[in-house]
Assembly symmetry: none
Homo-oligomer: 209 residues x 4
């Protein structure tokens, strides 16, 4: 079924994917209406079900699609080689943010999936997604080439790293929250990044020698 979809011209595929992503993101799986999707994609009802076995088939296709995007457009850009932990977190945040900006529909779709519907996905997806998230976090925290000598001697490096991680994550999620609400222009966004860098500076003075 999906074969026939992937044989479509890219443009038409994209239109359908964008329509579906945004409606699923908005309403969640159950309340997303296939009627609305075909309307937004400007195809007929029958056509959607010609491409995808059923609503669930479309949904899973989109999850796969989104996971691929997140991997190719975000995860591959994470740089685990930096031994400076704060620098590494900072790079990561910026890579994540770039992906947010470039694939807002993918991101909001995936957020909805993760927050609201993860538990009702088939186990294979739960594992796949769980692994992806765990793996990133683990690599971020555990990669042994972290330069522990950067940390002040009075702090245990893993405890310091934990606090740094929570702080940056918290900071970042407030940041994206603000972006979402206020639809900030890029100019304002500059300012926010400056503030973020300042925040990282503070963390440095707190935890680093």
């Amino acid at each position: 079924m999906i074969d026939s979809f992937e044989k479509l011209e890219q443009e038409k595929q994209d239109k359908i994917i964008r329509a579906a992503l945004s409606i699923f993101a908005d309403k969640g799986y159950k309340d997303a209406s296939t009627n609305k999707i075909v309307e937004a994609a400007e195809i007929s009802k029958g056509t959607l079900f010609y491409y995808f076995k059923n609503k669930k088939g479309l949904y899973y296709y989109l999850i796969d699609y989104a996971l691929e995007i997140i991997q190719n457009e975000y995860m591959v850009y994470i740089d685990y080689t930096t031994t400076d932990f704060i620098q590494r977190m900072s790079n990561n945040s910026k890579a994540k943010y770039r992906y947010y900006q470039e694939h807002p529909e993918v991101n909001s779709f995936l957020s909805t999936v993760l927050y609201s519907e993860l538990t009702s996905l088939p186990d294979s997806y739960q594992e796949k997604i769980g692994f992806l998230m765990e793996d990133t976090k683990n690599k971020m925290m555990d990669t042994p080439i972290i330069a522990e000598e950067l940390f002040k001697d009075e702090h245990k490096p893993e405890e310091a790293a934990r606090i740094i991680q929570l702080a940056i994550e918290g900071y970042f999620s407030e940041l994206t929250e603000k972006f979402k609400q206020s639809d900030l222009s890029n100019e304002d966004s500059e300012e926010l990044w400056t503030d973020f860098d300042h925040f990282l500076g503070t963390l440095r003075t707190v935890f680093y020698k």
Copy 2:
């Protein structure tokens, strides 16, 4: 319409509210079935629509109800008098947790509302809720009687406080996430609190003299 509902004997009101809260929490607004609600509340279909104009009316009523509970059962217990910032955050977390335990239906209803359906609420509700959350955070941070002399001299108190706040919030949200998933018994919960206290200890050694 709501007048007639509030004239009901408390017991019956509570039964309806509890039924509706738990079903909305479980399913979200759209997928909550009024049939299931009246069944759980042991009233007739007509009765529900006699008390509330429509499903949305019931939903908004419950939001108001839940906000009142959260205010009376959690927010009033926040102690802004403690001048030790970490202590204050700790008290707050514990107060929040107590409310979680005592009003699980209210809490899970409100979580669902906040995470999944906030954006589709009328602006008035969005503001109301936004204000409530902002206000708490602001009070937590800004109340000037914070004992700034506790902080190490090399840190700006407000910057230190910000990091502490983000770290504790992050820690706490991971904690409640774990609670949700694993349905922990109280015994296990003890252990988690010990770990939390240890975490606070670390924060103290980092930021306090």
Copy 3:
């Protein structure tokens, strides 16, 4: 669900049952459209599903209904006390025919069920129906009080009875076939019965002393 249906005024129940019976009889289970049923019964789409859980629920209800009719309106009238086998078969045919005439919709519904859809029914129904049919046939053939002395000495009674049974059944099924096709008035029907009686007479002269 069925409770609410059976609380309806008899007239309305009958209208729905008649509509559903005739459409299921005509089209078989799968091709019978609930749309057409509600149209014929002059009720709304929702109402049918208010009374019956789903299409299958309605179908099974009708089978039960039909089996009850066939039992009360046909089977109880079978007289196994007559020891004259041909007479017994004759009585049976006439009882069956009377039920055909009085409950044509029930009969054609049940025919469709038996011929076309029996194997896809739940086992419980298959057994129920199978038993009903076997039982009637067995009682008809085996009831030991058959007056074997009526048969000519040169024939084995059971072999004679078998031929008689097949002949009468065949005759009768041709008869009802004709009735179906030609929508005969009662007057013509008289004539057919005369012919039937003549046929039985022939059987008598062949097999009886």
Copy 4:
């Protein structure tokens, strides 16, 4: 349209016919899916509708095809020359059975048509089929060269013949019913034919001198 179909190489025609016959036999007209048919026939959707105006066109074509088979493979083998009526019926039954075995798809298709969908066919088909069946029966009964002198004197030959015919038809239809249900191996089938012959023997002793 059918012209183009009949210009196809025989092999391809057969493949399509066999696919369609078996699916119509299995599911009946309405529930037979043209998708399944083209899949089984290994042709494309468009091709089917290029050869046949529409689903109904295909169906009617198959009825014609099947009627031709039944005529060429069964009816021409009926031997009306035997003057022994019982022998003639016996031959007929065996010819019919041979055709059952050799063209099971044709037979089960035609059974489905006759039992379930006859009444919804156009009148022309109903007549055609009705005539075919009547005609066979009439020839069987009326062909004047029946050796009337075989019958016992006390029976009217035509009345005796009628009973014999009904008995054999009934016997045979029970037989094929059993075959259908139990998917009998040939070995078991032998036994059934022995029983059939015994049955004919009984008929002989009853009606013949």
